[in-house]
Symmetry: C2
Subunit: 421 residues, 2 copies
Amino acid sequence: MTVISRRRLLGAGLGAVGAGAALGAVGAGAATVEQPGPAPGARAYPFRGTHQAGIVTPAQDRLHFAAFDVTTGSREELVTLLRAWTSAAERMTQGRSAGPAGPTEGDYDLPPDDTGEAIGLPASGLTITFGFGPTLFRDEDGRDRFGLADRRPAALEPLPHFPGDELDPARSGGDLCVQACADDPQVAVHAIRNLARMGFGTVSLRWSQLGFGRTSSTSTGQQTPRNLFGFKDGTMNVKAEEPDVLDDQIWVAPQDDPDAEWLAGGSYLVARRINMEIEVWDRQPLGRQEQVVGRTKAEGAPLSGGRESTQPDFTVTGSGGEPLMPPSSHVAVVHPDHNGGARMLRRGYNFVDGSNALGGMDAGLFFLAFVRDPRTGFIPVQQRMARHDALSEYLRSTGSALFAVPPGAARGEYVGQALFA
Amino acid sequence: MTVISRRRLLGAGLGAVGAGAALGAVGAGAATVEQPGPAPGARAYPFRGTHQAGIVTPAQDRLHFAAFDVTTGSREELVTLLRAWTSAAERMTQGRSAGPAGPTEGDYDLPPDDTGEAIGLPASGLTITFGFGPTLFRDEDGRDRFGLADRRPAALEPLPHFPGDELDPARSGGDLCVQACADDPQVAVHAIRNLARMGFGTVSLRWSQLGFGRTSSTSTGQQTPRNLFGFKDGTMNVKAEEPDVLDDQIWVAPQDDPDAEWLAGGSYLVARRINMEIEVWDRQPLGRQEQVVGRTKAEGAPLSGGRESTQPDFTVTGSGGEPLMPPSSHVAVVHPDHNGGARMLRRGYNFVDGSNALGGMDAGLFFLAFVRDPRTGFIPVQQRMARHDALSEYLRSTGSALFAVPPGAARGEYVGQALFA
């Protein structure tokens, strides 16, 4: 019978142009969505590096995010899984099968070590990013299951309750998380599904979320996308091209936490499932929508004037003396000037998960943000937003989780190895 | 302030190349997914025609499907909505805003007539296909709300219960359906969301389903995709290039039903949400998987030999005398030779809707199939499959609906106009 590996199909389908484009993309690290190159699917990002991929990587179009509970009590089994996940992630991000035998080349009497739905699909810019939740260090009953309690970062506490939270426990928390981003959703789903398959008996899927449209740019080469309120989102996002800001605001430094030096070069990932009341929003006048956001809907320019890239000016007033940027507007409330300079690297996605009981859509923003310290970089901003932001009237947070994201794995290492060393 | 229409952004972003590619795609009607042209997003299909678009149109990559309940008792309001939906569908499939004012160009004191999240996105091959459910003609209490009962097609009966059905009423049925397919999920979601917005007060969203990976080809120019079992799906699908088969098996003819001549040129759409037990499947040996499906996993060739396109031979036996194509294999059970020649035009999508209570994925196939008569084209095949197909062990149907899909709207008409004439 004919045996076709994913890698060979990739080679046959794309040829030298595809391979060249992939190398080019890795080097440049930036491609616009609107005018993709000849073979955008051939983009491949290295899994190993100083930092994990999937943070400053130019935000891909599609997401599959999963949170897992560890079901074994064995530290050794947990480490074995992290080794296996590292190997599989390295393979899949290069467009290869999850395991070395592949979906169809193995023993007929054994289950394949890859599930096969990505046969023939290129790497598609896949990144796989791993994180550790607070309960990995000390579970909800206070148990230190894996001997990690004294290495827990002080900032890795469950997030506090915020006004407006209507959290579903089945969409919150988790011992481990995996963020898979790709330009093809089938590739992102394949990645999560194969990691879950490999984890059978060691971890159990706690919740997962698909996202279909990125709502942030993480590179100056990308155009600003739109969220389900129809507005450009993430104009002021931290970008890959700002290394000083990344060091100051996103990457954990060795001196940040003496108990958690293993996290140096990593970050914290805040995940929030934010339902948007789009049916109510859609009945608001255009002018009201712009006042709530603080930007024009067409171009995304601040209401104080200029273009999308212009900094908002909170001092400019209108003919009646009122500020052109309403103090309760989203842009004003979350602006770094009003939050001690705090900035996040946002990487969220739009979602629609069917309908709700009111005959509307279960839709919104799956908010993902990387920060150096959630105690200063996220929690105060979220508290301000929940209390003062006019946009909050149209939002309900239905899921929430916080993870410590270890640094990238060096050659020969598994992801998070320093935590277990 | 700057006012930018979706159309102008489209023109600015794509220029003459984009426009040319769009016209070319409409003319050719077939492009492979693996090697898209220079601007695949620029593909635009006409909304009006003999048949509705979205049936034989080369299957796009992404789906948003919605079923609505009509909440008004007024036939006039229902017709008004169908007129408005027709106009909006025609606009959006050409890459324009849902309403003439657009997302940002209207009166600041009024809600926009487009929600805006598709600003700057091209048509992306969007098709919008409308259908009428059995309850539109006579509701569950037997009421003829809109004076349509005597025009109900005899074949438009709720589907019977099949073995293995575990139907969720909240994912089944509906008075109306809208299938939005596009190569960009944001464009498909935008279409459904704006139709739902326009229907506020007349219809209520009953259920909706996103699909991320097409599982069928509807044109010979497309490569066969893979479902979440990792196998190629839809190899023997009815294709746009088989006009005689389409007339025989897919399109309703004027003489089919004297009470429902309005449906001539239309079809019936069967929608089934089929959960796949992927965690169980992934633990089956490769050989067992191939015996269950009846095809090789690598190429999709029938186990009786040949290539993907080779017809299966149910008479070929192995060295032990057993048929190489197991009689219980999926291919054998659903083959037209064993079903009175019945063939469907399938147009399904893979879905993942988070996790299930067992720590697995809520994942599967959202099955969509168009048939000339469900009483001969679908129900007997599904009954055979539910009883005899080895694949059924790994499937659970959790949603089900049947719709009559009217013919295409001619210029000046609204979709389904002949039903109300």
